[in-house]
């Protein structure tokens, strides 16, 4: 539908949109500039916007005191590992629900989703005890397992929606062409669902990366990820604003970059099938 919009209205809305965006972004922007200031300048009153003396010392201090690299590596292992493990379980699950549904399929989907509505604290004690008994506390693989489990409902739901868009005829054609189940999934279903699988993968890497509750409760020194890193950093170093800013920046930078570069893919994936 075409509408006549005056130049003034357009300008007005553009300014408003920029103002809102800047307002939302301002804490992050402040963190970024503060990370490059000296401690003295960071708490100076009146505050400066751009650093008077540009320094990278804060980043080196953070690495020295808390071993950023180790935590970042743990974050990568847990977020990527849990997403890949989740996909391996979710692809067959979503296949069966999309292409061989039973009377209970809808109920199972709702039930899976309902587990996401329960507050995590509700299962904290049992999970903690299970992890203790299985010696999974403060291990990367233990954290990967719990992250897979908490994100599995979302992965299955997303894949299920994408798979529903794939005409069943094509899978049947593969069966007629002599493809057994494994070949049908690997050679036909997965390549056709690549955009959907890619956006599921991205979204779940981000979710797992940002997860804080379980990482903080189930890890201490060895298996801590960046969320544990930043929380452990904030209390003892809380007064050192510049170092805290540098630590925060380091913690969010990788995922911010990933999101930035994949935003097109993410949006395409999230609206996949919305318009036929």
């Amino acid at each position: 539908m075409a509408r006549n919009v005056s130049v003034q209205t357009k300008t007005g809305f553009t300014i408003l949109a920029w103002a809102v965006a800047l307002l939302l972004f301002s804490p992050i922007l402040w963190t970024i500039v503060t990370a490059f200031k000296t401690e003295a300048e960071a708490i100076a009153a009146p505050p400066t916007f751009l650093p008077l003396t540009f320094t990278l010392d804060n980043f080196f201090d953070v690495q020295d005191r808390s071993d950023y690299i180790k935590h970042a590596w743990n974050s990568i292992l847990v977020s990527v590992g849990s997403t890949l493990l989740g996909l391996v379980i979710a692809i067959p699950a979503a296949w069966s629900m999309a292409f061989a549904p039973t009377k209970r399929t809808k109920d199972i989907l709702m039930w899976m989703l309902s587990t996401k509505m329960m507050p995590a604290v509700g299962v904290l004690i049992p999970i903690y005890l299970i992890f203790r008994d299985l010696r999974l506390l403060d291990t990367v693989h233990g954290l990967t397992i719990i992250m897979t489990l908490i994100n599995l409902p979302i992965i299955i739901w997303m894949l299920y929606t994408y798979f529903k868009e794939i005409p069943v005829d094509i899978l049947e054609a593969a069966r007629m062409d002599g493809a057994e189940l494994w070949n049908e999934i690997v050679h036909v279903l997965v390549p056709m669902a690549i955009p959907g699988i890619a956006s599921t993968l991205l979204l779940n890497v981000i979710l797992a990366w940002n997860e804080a509750f379980w990482t903080i409760t189930l890890t201490s020194g060895r298996a801590g990820t960046l969320t544990a890193f930043i929380s452990s950093f904030s209390s003892p170093q809380g007064l050192f604003l510049a170092k805290l800013s540098a630590a925060s920046l380091l913690a969010i930078a990788p995922i911010l970059l990933l999101g930035w570069f994949s935003q097109k893919q993410l949006v395409r994936g999230l609206t996949f099938g919305a318009v036929k």
Partner: protein, 334 residues
């Protein structure tokens, strides 16, 4: 070889019985068409043969071997779908090669067979394109190519021409018939279009509500329909039916006359039934008249295209006495 035998095949979806009990014998090399109105179970029957649906009871045999429980991949049949069902992420070449790759055929033989199929179906210059860059007719050819490379025991076609425009449909119809003459492989073809059925089939299975109404050659169905349903379904335009006293004169519950079996006259009184032209459909070669016959209702009459008629013209019809079909109260032919 590719003979297909169905023995008391039954298919129900929950409480709903789609196919009550069908037994059929399809000979090797035969072109059999399943025809019937929508919802008659013809596609379900094809899918049962393909193995895409499980039978509720009964047996399906290929060359005498029971394949009732076998998955589609193990039956050695090829299917062409209404939607073409090409793999959109593969080139035409890879689409055609897919069944051979699944059968772990050596690459050299795959190339040879794909090239042969492409030549047979005039697809040579499209081999490296993706399906979305092809027209409907070309896509259907790729689907057929994918079916022929694996040299199946039989081909199954599920309304393959429904998505094509009228002119292309006639072309593809001929191509499929030629392909059958060339390959001499068993083909089962599902359609709701009785013209396709009549022109392509060696034998036709007329289905209605999951039951086989008649199984015979096209001319057998046209000349000796087993019942009123087949009589009405086969032939275009449809057969005219008359009940009541007029039928009783022929010692039947109902009689049927095909539109082409009338003698038409415009001379007053020169015919058995008098009527008024309602609509005249002029095709050039023929004219179809929809005539309101006094006391008997609307009838379709086929006449040559040279005479012109208009709404309200008086006409007199005489059915060909040797070609009046008689039916009993249950609709069976007498």
């Amino acid at each position: 070889m590719g003979s297909i035998t169905l023995e008391h095949v039954n298919k129900s979806f929950g409480e709903v019985e789609i196919i009550p009990d069908i037994s059929l014998e399809i000979k090797d090399g035969e072109f059999v068409v399943f025809v019937g109105p929508s919802g008659c179970g013809k596609s379900t029957l094809l899918r049962l043969i393909a193995g895409l649906e499980d039978t509720s009871s009964g047996h399906i045999k290929l060359d005498g071997e029971d394949v009732t429980g076998a998955p589609p991949a193990r039956r050695g049949l090829a299917m062409v779908f209404q939607s073409y069902a090409l793999y959109p992420h593969m080139s035409v070449r890879d689409n055609i090669a897919f069944p051979l790759k699944m059968a772990k055929t050596p690459q050299a033989i795959i190339d040879q067979k794909v090239d042969y199929a492409a030549r047979t179906l005039n697809l040579g210059s499209y081999l490296d394109r993706r399906p979305r860059a092809l027209s409907g007719g070309q896509r259907q050819r790729v689907a057929i190519g994918r079916a022929i490379v694996r040299e199946p025991k039989a081909f199954l076609f599920d309304e393959p021409l429904s998505n094509l425009d009228a002119a292309l449909r006639v072309n593809m119809r001929l191509e499929i018939t030629e392909l059958h003459q060339q390959l001499k492989t068993t083909m089962i073809y599902v359609t709701h279009d009785q013209v396709e059925a009549m022109t392509m089939a060696d034998r036709i299975v007329v289905l209605n509500a999951g039951n086989v109404e008649q199984f015979g050659s096209p001319l057998e169905l046209y000349k000796k329909p087993a019942n009123r349903f087949v009589a009405g379904f086969i032939g275009s335009p449809k057969m005219n039916f008359v009940d009541g006293p007029e039928a009783e004169k022929h010692k039947a519950h109902a009689i049927g006359v095909r539109p082409e079996h009338f003698t038409l006259s415009t001379t007053a009184g020169a015919g058995q039934w008098a009527g008024t032209v309602n609509v005249a459909e002029q095709l050039g070669s023929d004219t179809f008249l929809h005539v309101e016959v006094e006391g008997l209702g609307l009838m379709t009459v086929r006449t040559d295209g040279d005479q012109t008629f208009s709404h309200g013209d008086k006409v007199y019809l005489t059915p060909d006495a040797n070609r009046i079909y008689r039916f009993d109260a249950a609709g069976l032919a007498l």
